[in-house]
Symmetry: C2
Subunit: 560 residues, 2 copies
């Protein structure tokens, strides 16, 4: 092991141990504070101008493999300006060839060295959170606070969580063992054995435009820690946050004496996408993907030479049976529907409510009044334009923006989407949520994913019907989140049963400072991997265990 990587391991050992403890206890813990105030004020203040200084020029990485490179770029901030940054596109075959050479040293360095390097990368990414937040904001369109938290510390949490699982899995394999088999009166048979952690091969991480770091770090660090070189293939609309992340990884790898190509960026463009070709390359043994169901399913069905970890999309659902305080419930849901304009893979889309209304502590409330209360809560929450812009962020893509109009006719409008103007970015694509009212029979409307600020309040016969509909829709289309509201423990148990049947995590009776679309690393499993919305969970044993194999050797030994 290189001295430097060992030092990195020793330096971060305590964090690693705490992370390993926490993935077992599932308690709250993080080494990466989510409050901007915990970061140097200067760095936070300088971040916007630091971003500006990167615009309209090439962004260079350390690794220069396949230097006969194409330049790609073309990112446009959803806040209304072109980034004008270009990136090298390495030759895939040259890159893969050099990664295969580099992989040997990385493998032989052992788990401690690899984990040490990963922890050091994460530590530096944490220090860079203000800068990365700017890059996330101006590619994904997230509001500044969310870009900071979800793009910075929360993403780093998920990366660290993956490293902790990888470390735990690798640490379970002893480096050596002596096997002594008794032979009755005769001498025992003695075998000396060695066990090696061997990576599967080249890992491809295909990122999305809405959460470029949060959805990328788990696969990146799970693969890297277990010995696999990683090609990061960013979405053409959100390259910069990953270019910055890859550069940090390359710096640390180089300092620790490894080939920086072990983590490489492979940007492409919408006009000349590379993902399919890369994904079918026989050298690619692991694929982490976040994106559409169609492409995720294509990968699972076609890239059969690789393990595919796919986070796709589903019909996230809320079942309202009864509530104590409707105002608190609708305020909670208003936040969930507004946050990042519904562009989270965890945002609810289908809200099932009995057509005869629900019971509350203040008496019966009709279906229409539940829908109206939700609309009112969203309106109230977004009444301050500055706060609205901060929470909503900007719409990442033109397709999502267009979808709002396309969906207006799918039901009765409870709350119409309106455009907002940002104080600093007049060209930002900012739109408030569209809420539609439909009948349970209008499945075609609410059982297709409508990515963006579009949700449906669905009139059902009763809660049993709501549960049956959710079971059916999630069974077919999947879901990453499921919310339920009931004051009846028997119904709560039915919702718990539903959650198990459709393999969606349940958030019950959220009416305070926790929202169904939030998922906390080390404690909440993000997606279960058990329904069509995702075939993997962030993170668990299954997310890391198959990224390496164990190769043993044995020879006759002498009993000690």
């Amino acid at each position: 092991m290189s001295q430097s990587a060992q030092q990195m391991f020793d330096l971060h050992r305590e964090i690693l141990d705490q992370a390993v403890d926490t993935i077992s206890s599932r308690n709250f813990w993080t080494p990466y504070p989510e409050s901007m105030r915990k970061y140097p004020e200067d760095a936070v203040k300088a971040a916007p101008s630091n971003l500006e200084s990167l615009l309209n020029q090439p962004f260079t990485l350390i690794n220069s493999v396949g230097s006969s490179t194409e330049q790609v770029g073309g990112e446009v901030s959803p806040y209304g300006f072109e980034l004008g940054i270009t990136y090298d596109q390495p030759d895939p075959n040259e890159l893969i060839a050099s990664m295969q050479v580099a992989m040997r040293d990385w493998r032989n360095a052992g788990a401690q060295a690899r984990v040490g390097v990963c922890l050091e990368i994460l530590s530096r990414l944490n220090a860079m959170s203000p800068e990365i937040a700017q890059a996330v904001m101006h590619t994904s369109g997230q509001g500044p606070l969310m870009a900071f938290q979800a793009g910075g510390p929360h993403a780093q949490d998920r990366g660290l969580e993956a490293v902790a699982y990888a470390w735990q899995a690798m640490a379970q394999i002893p480096a050596a063992a002596q096997w002594v088999k008794p032979q009755g009166k005769h001498d025992p048979i003695v075998m000396d054995k060695r066990f090696h952690i061997v990576p599967r091969g080249i890992s491809l991480v295909v990122a999305c435009s809405t959460f470029p770091t949060w959805n990328t770090y788990p696969g990146l660090f799970a693969s890297l820690a277990t010995g696999n070189p990683v090609i990061v293939k960013p979405h053409p609309g959100a390259i910069l946050p990953l270019a910055m992340s890859v550069r940090v990884a390359q710096q640390v790898l180089k300092e620790a004496g490894f080939d920086p190509c072990l983590v490489s960026l492979m940007p492409d463009s919408v006009d000349a996408p590379l993902t399919k070709t890369l994904a079918l390359n026989p050298a690619i043994k692991l694929i982490d993907f976040t994106g559409s169901n169609a492409f995720g399913d294509w990968l699972i069905q076609n890239a059969t030479q690789a393990q595919v970890f796919a986070e796709k999309a589903g019909i996230n659902s809320i079942i309202i049976d009864s509530v104590d305080n409707l105002r608190a419930v609708t305020a909670n849901l208003a936040f969930s529907l507004s946050l990042y304009s519904g562009q989270m893979c965890t945002t609810p889309q289908a809200v099932y409510v009995p057509r005869n209304g629900i019971e509350t502590a203040e008496g019966h409330v009709s279906f229409d009044d539940v829908a109206a209360a939700l609309a009112k809560a969203v309106q109230a929450f977004l009444s301050d334009n500055d706060r609205a812009c901060t929470v909503l962020g900007a719409i990442q893509s033109l397709e999502t923006q267009a979808r709002i109009d396309e969906c207006r006719g799918l039901g009765d409008i409870v709350l119409d989407s309106e455009q907002r103007e940002h104080a600093h970015f007049p060209n930002a694509r900012i739109h408030t949520p569209l809420i539609l009212k439909v009948d349970a029979e209008q499945q075609a409307a609410y059982s297709e994913e409508r990515f963006g600020p579009v949700s449906f309040v669905i009139a059902t016969d009763n809660t049993a019907h709501s549960i049956a509909l959710a079971r059916d829709v999630i069974g077919k289309k999947g879901a990453i989140t499921l919310g339920g509201y009931t004051t009846d423990e028997a119904v709560a148990e039915q919702l718990e049963e539903l959650a198990m049947e459709v393999a969606a995590p349940l958030s019950l009776n959220l009416d305070g400072g926790i929202f169904v679309n939030q998922s906390a690393a080390f404690s909440d499993f993000h997606a279960t991997g058990g329904n069509p919305a995702a075939n993997a969970s962030l993170c668990n044993q299954a997310f890391v265990a198959n990224r390496f194999v164990v190769v043993q050797s044995r020879r006759h030994g002498q009993s000690n």
Copy 2:
């Protein structure tokens, strides 16, 4: 949890704990003795007549799902007689439907109950080892000692190993947790969380004809312990050992208050195979397969709705660089080549030897003399016909028998295969090994799998060339075992490196009572899953971790 399942868990808890300890230490341990003398003498003696009492009649199971059943059968002992046993073939759709209903109770019973039931099944299978040995012998053709050991205790070891991994993986998930997030001066946010182990769905275990129990128990028990109902689809030529095993599983499930259909037999026939249809059924979420590369690859490429754990075949290789004692080495290899007539997925096929010969403690030995020494060792080992018949067993299939003749022309015959006559079974298909001499250039001969008693001594330029050839052939075709012989530590390290590169476990300088084709549960990983011969290893974390998902629920809580 049903009381009875809890009692089973308590009863076997110590064995479980020892198994979990041993998969970490990789030391020698087993609760299932491999010596026949440790089993009641009466049971061992009565086993052959017990088998006879099963012949020429239907074999009945407890579960009667889909009772409008076809009868299938047609097994023929490789020792030369028809078994004449028939088995119910349930209707697949009815069976799957009833399994999906039964799965809920099995899931809700929890890990302790499921593991308790699995351990009780294994314990009863162990007690039945003498009877199961007879069934294995007269379907696979294994000799009586091997049928006892590999079909009985060693298979049970692998089943227990899978249960231990499953238990370890499930035990890592807490049933509940309280998540307390500090909020500075304000009260912390408190969430109460529950975590459920949820099975993936119906599990299909596709068995082979040569190791009906050994290759079936790992997948069966890994799936069952993690909550998945299991359809056991035996090879049409080796149904009985699995019918007996499934009957035991059904008895234990019933006693513990579960639906016996949770483990069901789905026999089919060569003329009307069911596996492809079953494998593509959307309800099938897990497939364990042992068999041909063609079919294993078909499953991986087509049954993409399921996790596929495939053990296929490869070109198991031996590289001879130099030896101390050639006689001891060839005696060791003679056993490996003779055991069960090379019908093990671990039997060496390609033996690479430098064409200029090798160094030994007694001086230089030419290539031809190495080949001749191997031939002589096999001849000597098989000179006693009774011992030969016991070690060789019988050839399972007519195809394997025919292959011996087909291969004779592939090289120069070093040792010809001869037919032997069994003292008690005059019609048994017993054939000694065929050993051919070829040049490294004759890759078409030795780089195709020649399942059965066929091996090649391959003349190479030198050991570096041997290593390069093995790297190339195993890279393309895979291998489940790799053996090496050298007196030079530098070469030993090259072999270790080769093992890592091709992801094949290395046995170095075996010249005593351990053989390259043996693999001991709890210590040796059988196959690595990292080359084309298998995509999974028996057993490791990856073998169990993806057989279940974790579904959580959370609600606001009160801080303790």
